[in-house]
Amino acid sequence: MNTDFTDWLRGLGDDRVRALVAARPELITPVPAHVEGLAIRATSPSATGRALDRLDRFSLAVVETLLVMTAEDGPGLAYGELRAAMAASVLPQEAGLLPGALRAAVDELLGLALIFGPESALRLAPGVRDVSESPAGLGPPAVEAFRHHPPERLRELIEAVHLHDAGGEEPVPARLAALLAEGVIVERLLGDVSPQARAALEELAWGPPAGRLPNARREVSVATAQSPIEQLLARGLLAATGEETVVLPREVALVLRGGRVHRDLRPVAPPLEGAERDRSLADRTAAGQAFSFVRTVEELCEMWGVDPPGILRAGGVAVRDLRRTAQLLDLPEWTAALVVEVAYAAGLVAASAPVDGEWLPTTGYDGWRVKATEDRWEVLAAAWLAGDRVPGMVGERDDRDRLLNVLHPELRRPAAAEVRLRTLRVLASAGLGLAPTAASVRERLAFEQPRRRGAYRDRLVDFTLREAEVLGLTGLGVMSGFGRALLPAEASSRSGASRPGSAPAELLAPLLPEPVDHVVLQADLTAVAPGPLTSELGRRLALTADVESKGGATVYRFGDASIRRALDAGSSADDLLAMLEKHSTTPVPQPLRYLVTDVARRHGRIRVGTAGSYVRCDDPSVLDEVMADKRSAPLRLRRLAPTVIASRSSRAMVVDALRALGYSPVAESSEGDVLVTRADAKRTERPPSARPGPGPAGLDPDVVTAAVRAIRAGDEAHLARRRPVAAPDGQVPRSPSTGTVLALQEAIRQGARVWIGYLDSQGHATSRILEPARMEGGYLTAYDETRAAVHRFALHRITGVADVN
C-alpha cells in the first residue's frame, strides 16, 4: 500500500473525509475499520472505476494528462505544469475558460481522492493507473509494448533507434523506452521513413492506437524493410504485441501529437442545440399529453379488468394480446407497450398468480383512479422515472434469442433509471423553450460521462426522449415546468429530501383542461363534451351513451341499447331527461327526448326473475292453503298467479317440505332456469416487491458523519493512540429490540457513545462501549472502545442499550 496516499488521506480534515465518503458511498459500505482500510478500499479497481465513471470529459482529461505526464512512483506534477499541459490541448477559442475549469476539476478530483498531494506535486491516486486502459486514446508505454520482445530483437531495435548506443548497456525495454521518450530521436526516425509510413502513423496517432497486421512478429531491420509498415517496425516506431497486432507506443504517439495529450478539448460542456419553442405552448402541449396518458392508462386498466390477457409461461404478455390492446387503445404498439409497462411500474396492474394467471388491475388501481388527474400523473411519471425496465426493447430479442414481450421479466436493464434521469437532467438544463436535438443530448451526456458511452446507452437516451414526450414530461421536445419539478434534486446538493419549488402535480394542475359540467346535445343523437367531464357527469353519461370519439373532447352517441343500459341501472326516463336538461347548454333535441321516452315505454314491460322451483295446482284453494300455512315461510313462496307459486328453494326441498305439511306433491321435470349475473371486473393484489428499492439518492448526512467518526476512532486505535477502555461493571439492562434500534439510531444522529450488552458468537454475554456509525442490513457498524477497533454487530444479538454515563 502506498503510504503517501494513506498519510494524505489521514491528514485530511473531517469535513473533507465526510465529503469524500458522501460522494463515494461505496467506501463506507461497510464502514472500514481505520484510515488505512479506507485507503485500500478507495484504491481498489472497482471503487476507482466507479469514481472515474462519474467524471466528465474534462476532469477525465485532467486525470489522463497526469497519468501520461507522471510516472507511477514519480514526484508528481505542480499545478502550474498541469495547467500548461492542459492549455496545449484545449480548443483555442475556449482557452479563456481553462483556468476556472481546471481549478474546479482539480478540486473535484482531490475531493474524490482520485488525485492527491499538495499543489506543488499533484499525483494520481494508486489504482487509477491500473484501471485506465488506453488513456486519451494512447497506446501502452514503450516499456510495456516491447516487454515480450526477445533480447536480441531489442538490441537490434535499440541499434536502429540510436546508433551510438549499440554496445554498453543491457538490452532492456526500459532503455528503448528512454530513447523513444526523446522527442529529437523520434523526430529523426520519422524523418527517415517514407511518407506512406508516416501517414500510417498519423492514422494511429489519435487512437485507437492498435492495428491489425498479418505476421506482425516478422524479422525486419532497417536494411531489409520493404513496406512502409516494415520501416516502422524496424525502427521501433510500431511494436508488435501479438501475432497479428501492432501498437503505437505511447512515447511515439505523444511526439506525433506535438506534445499534446488531447486535441480540441473543451473545458466546459458543449452547448445544447435545437429549435426554440414557445414555452407556454410547449407546457400546454406537455400537459395535454400528460392528460391523455393518464386517461390511456385508466382505459387500459378498465379494459384488462374485464378482459385480462393471460400470462405467458416465460412471463409477460403475448404479442397478440399487445397488438389487440394497441388496437383498442388506438396507439402504435410501442406506445401501448409503454402504457402497459408504466401501469405495471406504478403498481396498477400485476399478475394474478405466478402460474396460469392473468394480468389484472390491482386494488391499488382503484385507489389511484379516484385521485385528481395531476396526482395520478405524478404517480405514473415517478414510476416511469425510477423503473429499471426498458419498454423500448419490447419486440426485440435478448442475447439468448428469446423474444422480449411486454412485461417480460427480462425487460430490465440496470442502467435504465440512471440514463433516464441523466437524459432528463440534460433536457432540464437546456434554456427555457429550447428543444434539444437527440444528437446534442447524446453529445452532452458523452461529455458528462465519457467512460459510460456506447450504442446501448445511446438507445436508452433515445427511448427516454421518445417516452418523455408520450408521458408529457416534455412537450414539443421542451422540458415542461412540471416535468422539471419531478426530477429529484441533484445528489450533490446536500439539502436532502425537500425539493426546490412546488410539487409537479401542483404545477400541472392549472395546465390541465378544466373539467366541464355540461355537454352539447345534437339532433343526430350525439352529445359532445367539450372537455374532460366532472367525474359524476362523466360516469352518468358513460352509462347513458356510448363513447364514439376521444381526445380533448368526448363524443357520446345515444342509442336504444345505451338508454336501456341506463334504465337498467335504475334511472327513470325523467331522471335521464332531467340530467340531460341540467347539463346541456342547448335545449334537448326533440328526437333525443323522444328516444328516451320511447325506450322507457318499452322498458320493463316483460319481467324476468329467478326461482328455485315452482308449485302449480289446478285448484287455487289448495295453493291458498299452502300460502297461509306458517310452516311454509322458510320456502319463501311467492304467488305468481292463482294456480302458480314460485319458491326460492330447490325442487327437492319444496317437495320434502310439502310432504312434511301433509301434501303429496310430485316433482315435475323442469326445462331448467337461467341464472343471470353480471360478471364483476376482477382484481388482484399487487406483489409486495413491485417497487424498486431506493435509487442512488445519496447518503443521509448523519450516516456520513457517524461513519467518518468511526473511521477516525478506529484509525487512532489502529495507530495505537487509543487504548481499549474497560466496560463498566454490571450488566446492561435489557431493552426491547425496537427500543434498541431507536436508541442506536438516535446515537448515530447525535454522535453519542452507548453502552450495550452483546452476545458474542460463542454466546457469551459481553458488555461494550460503542460509537455507533451506521446501521444497515441488520448490522450495526461502530467503533468499539472496549476493543479499540471498528466492528460489525448483529442487531439481534444486542441485548440492551444504555447511556454510558
Binding site: 405552448l281 400546454r284 402541449t285 406537455a286 400537459a287 395535454g288 399529453q289 391523455s292 388506438d330 414526450e469 408520450v470 412537450g475 414539443l476 383542461p513 378544466e514 352539447v520 346535445l521 345534437q522 339532433a523 343526430d524 343523437l525 350525439t526 359532445v528 367539450p530 372537455g531 370519439s549 376521444k550 381526445g551 380533448g552 373532447a553 363524443v555 342547448t586 333535441p589 326533440q590 328526437p591 323522444y594 320511447d598 318499452r602
Partner: protein, 548 residues
C-alpha cells in the same frame, strides 16, 4: 388555455363549435385539409385523412400551414404525435412526379432517390415502368399513367401528375347568361378546376353542380363526354345545358339504353357504360369515338368500379368530378383521388345556406302504433314480408289524411312503394294516383294540373323517383319506401324538395310504424339527415290525429 372553437380528437377528427365567434375563420382554415363528416346543429365533425392532406398539398398548402391552423384554433393542446403524423403524411405527396419528357415520353421523376428506389422495388409497380433515365427518373409506359398513379397511392407515395393534357377536338361552347347569372361560388369552382387541370368539385345537393359542369365546358371549348348516374339525370343534364349554354339540340347526344347518339357533347349513363355482353364491355368505343377534350363525372361518389378502370386510360384528357361528398360507401376515395384528381373546390356549406342558395327541409317522422292484432300478425310474418306488412298498416291511412288536412292549401305529394296502399290512400284522400301503369299522357296532364294548382294533392308511386318532370311540392309525405342506401334516399328527397321561390322551407313527413323494421330504417334516415343538418322531429300519430 386558449378558447378556440376547435377540439382535436385523438382519432383525427376535428370538432368545430359552430356558434363560436371564430368558427367561421376556423372553418376556412381547416376546410382545405379536413373533410366535413357530419354537420348537425351545434358541433360539426371534420376528419383528417391522408387523402384530405394530399388534397391540401395538391391545392398548394404545406404542412406548416396545416399545423398552424390546428394549433391556433384548437382549444386544447394538439397531440404532438398527430402533428408529426400530419407533417410526415404531407411530405409524401409530390416526392414523385409524372412528367412529360421530349425524349422519353412519360417519366416518373423524384428528387428523393430513396423513394424512387423503394418504388422501383415494388413488384406491383415494376411492370409499368420502362428504362431508367439517369439517377432520378424512370420512363413510364404512357398507357399506365392511370394505373401507376393508383398503385403509387396504394403504397403511400402519391404522385403529382404534371404531364399535362391533350386539347381535344375544338368545339365552341359559351354560357348563355340571360335572366340568370353564374353564382360566385360556381364561377370559383369552375376556375379552380381549370387551373388545377383535373379534379373534383364538392358542392352540396341543390347547389347547381350541373351549372359548374357547363362552366367547365365553357372553359374547355372542346367536345365533352358527360357520365351520369341514370337516364333521368341524363335528361336533366340535357335540359340544363340547352337552357344554360349556347349548345343546341343537335349538338347534344344521349348515349343511354334506348338512344345511342354520339355528338360533340355526349351524355352517357354509368349503366350503359358498364353493360357487359359475353364478358366484354360493349360500349367502350365511346371513349375513343371522338377526341374528347373534357370528361365530366357526375356524382363521383357513386362511380362504379368498371368506370374507374376505363378512366385509368383517359389520363391525358381533362377530367372533372362533381359530387356532394367525397365519402364513398365502398371506401374507394383513393381511386377518385388518383384517377380523377384531387379536390379542387369545396363549398362553404354554411355560407351557401346563409345566402339562401340551399335550404334544408324540415323532416318530421310520424310514428303510428300497430293494433294488437296487427302486432301479433307482424310477429308471425316471414322475415321478407315483414317490411311490407308494417309499411302498409291501415293505421297510416288516417294519419296521412290528417297530415294532408293540416296542409290544406299547399301542394302535397304522397309517395309510396306499394300500389294497393296507394290506391287505398287515393280513395281516402280523393286524389289522383300516378303509378307505373299510368299512361304518359295522363301523367303529364296530372303533373300540369298539379303545377297549375288545380290539383293540390297527388299520390305517386316510386315511378316518381325516375320521373324528371315531377313537379315541385312544398310538402311530401312518404308512407312507405325502398330500403336502399341512405344517400340515395336523401338525394331523392333533395330532388323533390327544392328551395322554394318564396323562400319558405319545405316539409318532409315520413309515416313510420312503431317498434318494427320500418322504424329501424327510419333511424338510419334520421341519423343521416340530422348529420346533414336537416332539422328532424319525431311525433306520435295520436298527436297528429288530435290536431296538435
Amino acid at each position: 388555455m386558449s378558447d378556440g372553437p376547435l377540439i382535436v380528437q385523438s382519432d383525427k377528427t376535428l370538432l368545430l363549435e359552430v356558434e363560436h365567434e371564430k368558427a367561421d375563420d376556423c372553418r376556412k382554415a381547416i376546410a382545405p385539409f379536413a373533410e366535413l363528416e357530419r354537420a348537425p346543429e351545434h358541433v360539426h365533425t371534420y376528419r383528417i385523412t391522408p387523402l384530405a392532406l394530399w388534397n391540401a398539398r395538391a391545392a398548394g398548402h404545406d404542412a406548416e400551414q396545416v399545423i398552424d391552423a390546428l394549433i391556433s384554433h384548437s382549444r386544447y393542446p394538439v397531440p404532438h404525435a398527430l402533428l408529426v403524423d400530419i407533417a410526415e403524411t404531407m411530405s409524401r405527396y409530390g416526392r414523385l412526379r409524372l412528367e412529360k419528357s421530349d425524349h422519353h415520353g412519360l417519366t416518373l421523376t423524384s428528387s428523393d432517390k430513396a423513394v424512387l428506389e423503394e418504388v422501383l422495388r415494388s413488384k406491383k409497380i415494376q411492370p409499368m415502368l420502362g428504362e431508367r433515365i439517369g439517377g432520378d427518373s424512370v420512363a413510364v409506359h404512357p398507357s399506365e399513367r392511370g394505373n401507376i398513379k393508383q398503385a403509387l397511392l396504394k403504397i403511400g407515395w402519391p404522385a403529382e401528375d404534371l404531364a399535362g393534357y391533350v386539347d381535344g377536338e375544338h368545339h365552341p361552347i359559351t354560357l348563355a347568361q340571360d335572366g340568370w347569372q353564374l353564382r360566385p361560388y360556381q364561377q370559383q369552382a369552375a376556375d379552380a378546376f381549370w387551373h388545377g387541370g383535373s379534379g373534383v368539385v364538392v358542392l352540396p345537393c341543390g347547389a347547381g353542380k350541373t351549372i359548374v359542369g357547363a362552366a367547365a365546358m365553357a372553359h374547355a371549348q372542346a367536345t365533352t363526354l358527360i357520365l351520369v348516374t341514370n337516364t333521368v339525370s341524363a335528361h336533366q343534364w340535357k335540359q340544363e345545358l340547352l337552357r344554360r349554354t349556347s349548345l343546341t339540340e343537335n349538338e347534344i347526344g344521349e348515349y343511354t339504353g334506348t338512344k345511342k347518339e354520339i355528338r360533340p357533347v355526349t351524355i352517357a349513363t354509368y349503366q350503359v357504360m358498364t353493360t357487359r355482353r359475353q364478358g366484354t364491355y360493349r360500349h367502350l368505343e365511346l371513349f375513343d369515338a371522338r377526341d374528347w377534350g373534357l370528361v365530366i363525372y357526375d356524382e363521383v361518389h357513386l362511380l362504379p368500379a368498371p368506370i374507374f378502370r376505363m378512366t385509368a386510360d383517359l389520363q391525358a384528357r381533362r377530367r372533372v368530378g362533381l359530387t356532394a361528398t367525397l365519402v364513398r360507401e365502398d371506401g374507394r376515395e383513393g381511386d377518385v383521388f388518383s384517377l380523377i384528381g384531387p379536390k379542387r373546390y369545396d363549398a362553404p356549406w354554411k355560407e351557401m345556406e346563409n345566402q339562401g342558395w340551399i335550404a334544408p327541409a324540415d323532416c318530421v317522422e310520424v310514428r303510428v302504433t300497430l293494433s294488437d292484432t296487427e302486432r301479433l300478425a307482424y310477429a308471425m310474418a316471414e322475415a321478407e314480408e315483414r317490411y311490407r306488412f308494417c309499411a302498409t298498416t291501415p293505421s297510416k291511412l288516417k294519419v296521412t289524411e290528417a297530415l294532408v288536412g293540416r296542409h290544406a292549401g299547399e301542394q302535397v305529394l304522397v309517395i309510396g312503394q306499394y300500389i294497393d296502399q296507394l290506391d287505398e290512400l287515393a280513395e281516402h284522400l280523393d286524389a289522383p294516383v300516378i303509378k307505373g301503369e299510368t299512361r304518359v299522357k295522363e301523367r303529364e296532364r296530372l303533373f300540369q294540373a298539379f303545377r297549375d294548382k288545380e290539383i293540390q294533392v297527388l299520390v305517386v308511386s316510386k315511378v316518381a323517383n325516375f320521373s324528371i318532370d315531377l313537379p315541385e311540392a312544398s310538402v311530401a309525405i312518404q308512407v312507405s319506401g325502398t330500403f336502399g342506401s341512405r344517400q340515395e334516399e336523401a338525394q331523392r328527397l333533395g330532388r323533390v324538395l327544392r328551395p322554394k321561390a318564396g323562400g319558405g322551407g319545405a316539409r318532409f313527413y315520413s309515416v313510420v310504424s312503431r317498434d318494427t323494421v320500418d322504424q329501424d330504417f327510419a333511424a338510419h334516415r334520421q341519423r343521416f339527415l340530422a348529420e346533414q343538418g336537416y332539422a328532424y322531429q319525431i311525433i306520435d300519430a295520436d298527436d297528429v290525429l288530435a290536431g296538435e
